[in-house]
Symmetry: C2
Subunit: 198 residues, 2 copies
């Protein structure tokens, strides 16, 4: 079809969104043009502003509009606990789900030597400086339970041990509400090894 070139550009541009392909991009473009031009204009404005104004917190590296994010700037948070996560999304999930009052440190990824991602790329030099300040008494490792996440956790554990700081790892086991039948073997093995007395 001889689509207006701009319409084709819009469909292509929408594919930068995760999970959006040619078909859903087309559906979105037509929907916005036919039904919600105001919403689309608003989205365009917010999108441009967010990309320009949201940077990273200089202390914990999470996404932040300000030099220091609201959590790092909050004196009510317990500075002796530092939870290490891979992404700002992981941090958001923990904040939403549980009553944790300590601080965070966001790696922005995990160690992956084959991709050229070493300790420096995920901010471990800066983390080491922070540990040197002496305020942190416990590091809670909440990296993903993947091979890379485990390797990253182990690396940080070694760093912390060199400074005599306690490190803990979030528990791995069968998820709440799950059925044993559908749990994979690795998770089940973890759950058995991590069993506790009742």
């Amino acid at each position: 079809m001889n689509s207006p070139p701009l319409l084709q550009q819009l469909i292509t541009a929408l594919r930068c969104l995760p999970g959006v392909g040619a078909k859903s991009g087309q559906r979105m473009a037509y929907h916005l043009l036919e039904r919600d031009r105001d919403g689309a204009r608003h989205l365009a404005r917010v999108l441009a502003e967010a990309m320009d104004r949201i940077g990273h917190c200089s202390r914990c590296r999470t996404l932040s509009e300000t030099e220091l994010c609201s959590l790092c700037a909050n004196p009510q948070r317990d500075a002796s606990q530092l939870c290490i996560v891979e992404t700002p999304a992981d941090q958001a999930i923990i904040e939403q789900a549980i009553d944790y009052r300590g601080n965070y440190y966001v790696l922005g990824g995990h160690l992956s030597p084959l991709d050229g991602i070493g300790p420096k790329e995920i901010g471990l030099e800066q983390l080491d400086q922070r540990l040197a300040e002496g305020e942190v008494k416990e590091i809670i490792l909440a990296t993903n339970p993947t091979v890379e996440g485990e390797a990253t956790a182990q690396y940080i554990h070694d760093m912390a041990r060199a400074r005599q700081i306690k490190t803990t790892r979030i528990a791995q086991g069968v998820p709440m509400g799950g059925e044993l039948e559908y749990v994979d073997g690795a998770t089940l093995a973890h759950a058995f090894r991590g069993r506790s007395e009742i």
Copy 2:
């Protein structure tokens, strides 16, 4: 979580996209901010430009950047056939799928008196003027096979009959590759009524 307000605004703004809710909006926002800021900036630009510059073709009412869309402006198209569709997306699907060489007329919806959508709102006055020009010899009704789409097709059929213009309706029956077992009764009834000799 004390998210940056701009991040929350972005998540909310993304929900103007069809099929995007709180969870997927959050996932999209984090993805763009962490991995594809350039793509997001490009999307913001194209989105704003598309909403401002894409209007409707003055002749067939489809989405177009120009006063007359490329199909209406093309003298190679057969002006004696006019295919009536509900949306620009329907038009695009027909153009992509089959070798139709006539023109289109895009209603932008269907008759729906309860929602205040009458003949005028879906451009039937303008269509009647076009039929009065005498160039159109066949109207191909390709509105959706829904109650509203059928009612709209019937209305246009009556308009065309008043001007002695032939109208046809695209065939309804079992879809190619479908299995009879999973076809609904109404479709099956249509398929039986519309059976042809082999």
